[in-house]
Amino acid sequence: MAAAARDPVSATGLDEADEAVRGTCEDASVCKRFAVSVGYWKDPYIQYFVRQAKERKAPEINRGYYARVHGVSYLIKAFLKKTECNCQIVNLGAGMDTLFWRLKDENLLPRKYFEVDFPMIVARKIHNIKSKPPLSKPIMESHSGDSLLIDSHSLDSSRYSIVGADLRFSSDLEEKLKKHNLDIHLPTLLVAECVLVYMTPQQSSNLLKWAASTFPVAMFINYEQVNMTDRFGQIMIENLQRRQCNLAGVEVCRSLDSQRERLLLNGWETARAIDMMKVYSFLPQADVKRIEGLEFLDEKELFEQLMQHYCICWASKDSSNLGLANITF
């Protein structure tokens, strides 16, 4: 694919780095599955995508994923409501995410739901979908018309599509999505959870610019690190490097301001960013109290530090004046 264009030596180096990034897909899914198994939230589908965790995850990790899943979901549902589901969702670096299936259960599907990830991950996801009826049935149910198009790195149906592509090459990405009937004139929500940070600032800027210039009515949700210049952030970077995981885009994760600026500079009209501790405080507190009772957190320091180093940012451009800029917690 695009890899052929690169010279063999650097391709191997890049491949190792990419492999480490692909590894984070499993980390995230296993953690989510563990949190679900303890009762933090319901997700009947994740068990079909990923193995059970071998060891317990720490309570602050479980709470962190809870806040992430619910924070992002809140914004996604706000977008769906504002557009009355007459929209598209493009999940960039979706990994083993199960949102499509959960939205379908809630009758909240957009006109079409697209997922994009590395071809290797997409191949694995398609394999899981094909072999597990609880995953394939909902896709077939929501499909109308001719038979589904499936090959090793892509699956296309009326309401769900998954495509293997490299997010660093936006023209290739656009081509593949359009082949699966992406309609750039529909209000489109793009979601990236812990994705941009693995690319260089230049590469993520290109992706954001592409999104802003391609869709006249759109929203972008980005979840990733923030406040990374302090001691805690530095240690996280070192720990990750020891696992060959390079946060190539960590420079943009300096502060909430730098996160906002990056969005505005790349063609988005409005942009907001808040850290996860804030998000946690905005979530419905009755349910927060419930999950806090699931596992006793012996001390808050670690949890607060962790949450202050992640953020949710969201940006919009709205030539149809749907009121997307008003979406907030």
Binding site: T24, I61, I235, N239, C245, E295, F296, E301
Partner: protein, 498 residues
Amino acid sequence: MAEGERAESGGGPGPGRPPSPAEVERAEALKTRANEFFKGKDYENAVKYYSSAIELNPTNAIYYGNRSLAYLRTECYGYALADATRAVELDKKYVKGYYRRAASNMALGKFKAALRDYETVVKVRPNDKDAKLKYQECHKIVKQKAFERAIASDEHKRSVVDSLDIESMTIEDEYSGPKLDGGKVTLAFMKDLMQWYKEQKKLHRKCAYQILVQVKEVLAKLPTLVETTLKETEKVTVCGDTHGQYYDLLNIFELNGLPSESNPYIFNGDFVDRGSFSVEVILTLFGFKLLYPDHFHLLRGNHETDNMNQIYGFEGEVKAKYTAQMFALFSEVFEWLPLAQCINGKVLIMHGGLFSEDGVTLDDIRKIERNRQPPDSGPMCDLLWSDPQPQNGRSVSKRGVSCQFGPDVTKSFLERNRLDYIIRSHEVKPEGYEVAHDGKCVTVFSAPNYCDQMGNKGSYIHLRGSDLRPDFHQFTAVPHPNVKPMMYANTLLQLGMM
């Protein structure tokens, strides 16, 4: 509307004044509205309208009974109980009232109280099948709970030690690790053990069991408040939380010397959990306790408990390296760890801090029966869980257990007990220690770069018999082997939320 009524009649109906016919009628109308809301599952409005009806006519048991049911549906069991009780007070023959009260008590886990009300209903309505069913169900639960209590107290008396046959455990020839010398811990054994552990090897389970059984005996003989004297020329080193960070523990011994009769140590709790080398830390500490029982002291932390060990990794680590039975024995041994230590009658050391109530004395601490899991509240819980706060008074704890105590609390406790100051741990501090409450409350924390994340320094305190003021020594984290991430539920090499 209800306000207007009151203004007209100059005060609502009450014990001195029964409701007027107009009020009775209006109350009925409100109750009918409320019933409609109830049918439509709008319990909030149902409660509101029942309440308005009650305001007009507080003598009607049915209003309280209905409101009680609305509260049950919204899980406000306390209010439901209060209303049901009032209903039955107003009308002893109101059967539904007893039902409601029983249901409230069931929800609150007060099964014996619920049973009494179900009994009443069954007596009054002997042919009511539903009443009989509820009574039988409740009776079953009460019996079950009584049975559970009986076997729990039974199990508590039987120790894991009784089911162990350490003598028959054999050590294979292939095992080249440290062994106890004639069944005893020696300095040579400890040195071998620390090196063995440094190389990430496992101590033979027979030796681990020997250590545990012996240290349990030693700890069980100690009082809850250990009182020691430090002579003029003597010194002691006080360390705080170590949390399974074995390589940092080794570093403390490098910097400060191995424990010995002339180099005594006090480790102030939280030896395990979060770090990946909790087994190594705890068996090393227990080994030194056996070697120098009067010069090596261990106090219990909030992490030397079952709840914490289950979630924060120690149980997982012991089960992975040994067995569940070994963990059960660790749990028993932890229960015998003393809760506090007093040096020269002047310096008091405990893991958490001071108390949720005034007036606690050293004698109160001595009297605590500690060989148990800590209760949810009370002095034993406070000793393991509380934290100092900068402002006077006490506040609800940020941890959701025990309290936060201010400088005035510390001052009056010290005065009452004729102490100079307290040393505690329990909270990570960037510099490894903190002095608060005008020098009267010192925190010492000995797990540097806590969980491989926080970047904090560790510290330990030197106390000299000649001058009991704390002398702080700081140190930074040393490298440790890269065990695989997320090992045993700790956040070592934490990758965050990817």
